[in-house]
Amino acid sequence: MKYVLMFIETEEFAKEFAALGPGEQEEAYRRVYQWFEDHKDKITDRGSKLQGPETATTVRLDGGRMMTTDGPFIEGKEVVSGFTEIEVEDLDEALRMVRTWPACPVVEIRPVEQM
């Protein structure tokens, strides 16, 4: 089955990460690259790391009218910070994969709709 993993950052995590020294940040990135390397046979689309929520723009299309606002679609302490598509046997395998994720503290696993 195909799933998208949505990586979710908390304010606290972002703050802690920003407070790390350059060497420690590099090490954190290295762990993430290693994770992608370890699971590359299951990753069908590496996806992307997103820029911060302060860079987001949300558009609402309501009956032909377009409303453009500054910020992510939900203002909250937890924001999507990246995504990756995986192909695994079932939810248990996805869960095992996510268990070793070395970065942000929340991950949403969402099955992809089969067309």
Binding site: D90, L91, L95, R96, I109, P111
Partner: protein, 397 residues
């Protein structure tokens, strides 16, 4: 004395889960298979009271589910073909219920859904029976089950015994669900059990099933022993009017001493084979301490206190802390216990037993008016009629 409806429920329970397991394996579709079993169970519950329980209930249920499947699954040609090729089993099919339990208690399902699904799929309860047991509406339970089954299919929740490295965590989840059922059933009084399902019986049955399928898991043995030790006191727990009799005041000759011996033997055997006991074994050991005391005054409180200390290192929950404080009151007196209890006030403000225990300790210390206030608070918070009766009686004194 066995009521005919209890006998009926027991036969259904012994066979429905096996049939569900076999059909899920056959069809590879959890939701469709489960619907067929539920239909067969509903038909059995209508016909067996009139026609009598068939000699081979498993074959009967199987045949009805098959016929029903050929009828209902018109559009799923492949399912129909699989069902049509199937003969009723000469012997009971291999036991797939372990897989079934792990799917129903998958951590990706909400707790309420795990409970409802386990009761329906593994124990063969109908939606109406589950609704009655949890005082919920039938449509709410039905919706919860439908949603859970859809998630199993759509999110790819597997029908499989978890891998060895996932097993401890997943087994915890299963035991939590069963323990919840047990508590739900144990706390409801016998007075209203006339019309409702005996969830304690279902919890014991499930644990025994699990113990048979996973005989080397110590915490399964621990939970089974715990449930059996509590059940052995049933006859002494309520007055004929359905009021709670506190452990202290129970007539211990009414306890089922043979069952107590059997449960403590199981616990000892489980503990001997493994080193560090888990939370269910510890709780069972505490229950065993109470069960083995011939009188209330012979209770080995220092031992119970040690067991609570061990439990708290594994599960530092406020409720375990509350029970430790009760044990402490018998070892070091009410003043120390009250001091410990008051440290838990923030976490247990809405927990009736916290206030009831506080009331008891305050009364022991001669602080009667504060005790009455605490009892009043406990009575405000409790919804259980038998517990409420007890509190009101204390307030009236």
């Amino acid at each position: 004395m066995t009521r005919p409806e209890d006998e009926l429920a027991r036969v259904v329970r012994d066979h429905a889960g096996r049939l569900a397991g076999a059909l899920v394996t056959l069809l590879g579709d959890f939701a469709a298979a489960e619907d067929l079993v539920q239909d067969a169970v509903e038909i059995a519950l209508k016909r067996w009271p009139v026609e009598g329980i068939p000699e081979r209930p498993d074959a009967w249920l199987f045949t009805v589910a098959k016929r029903r499947g050929l009828d209902v699954l018109r559009r799923q040609q492949n399912y129909r073909a699989k069902l049509a090729a199937l003969e009723p089993p000469v012997q009971p099919p291999p036991d797939d219920r372990l897989r079934l339990i792990f799917t129903c208690c998958h951590p990706a399902l909400a707790r309420e859904a795990q409970v409802a699904l386990t009761l329906r799929v593994v124990c063969g309860l109908t939606t109406a029976q589950i609704a009655a047991a949890f005082l919920a509406s039938e449509s709410a339970v039905a919706q919860r089950i439908t949603r859970a089954k859809r998630k199993i299919t759509d999110a790819g929740i597997p029908y499989r015994i978890p891998r060895a490295d996932d097993l401890p965590e997943r087994l915890d989840e299963v035991l939590t669900v069963i323990y919840l059922l047990f508590n739900e059933g144990y706390l409801s009084s016998t007075a209203d059990r006339v019309h409702s399902r005996d969830l304690v019986d279902d919890a014991e049955w499930l644990t025994a099933l699990l113990h048979g399928l996973l005989p080397n898991e110590p915490e399964v043995g621990g939970l089974l022993s715990l449930i059996r030790l509590h059940r052995a006191r049933t006859a002494a727990r309520f007055t004929p009017d359905g009021d709670i009799v506190l452990l202290e005041n129970q007539d211990r000759t009414l306890w089922d001493h043979a069952a107590i011996t059997e449960a403590t033997t199981l616990l000892t055997r489980t503990a001997r084979r493994h080193h560090a006991p888990g939370p269910y074994q510890l709780q069972a050991a505490i229950a065993a301490c109470h069960s083995e005391a011939r009188t209330w005054s012979e209770t080995d409180w220092p031992q119970i206190l040690v067991l609570y200390d061990m439990l708290l290192t594994l599960q530092p929950t406020p409720v375990a802390g509350l029970h430790r404080a009760i044990a402490l009151s018998y070892v070091r007196g009410p003043a120390d216990a009250l001091a410990e209890l008051d440290g838990l006030a923030g976490d247990l403000e809405h927990y009736p037993l916290f206030h009831a225990t506080r009331a008891q300790l305050l009364r022991d210390l001669g602080r009667d008016s504060e005790a009455r206030t605490a009892d009043g608070r406990a009575a405000e918070l409790t919804t259980n009629p038998a517990q409420l009766g007890l509190l009101n009686e204390r307030l009236a004194r």
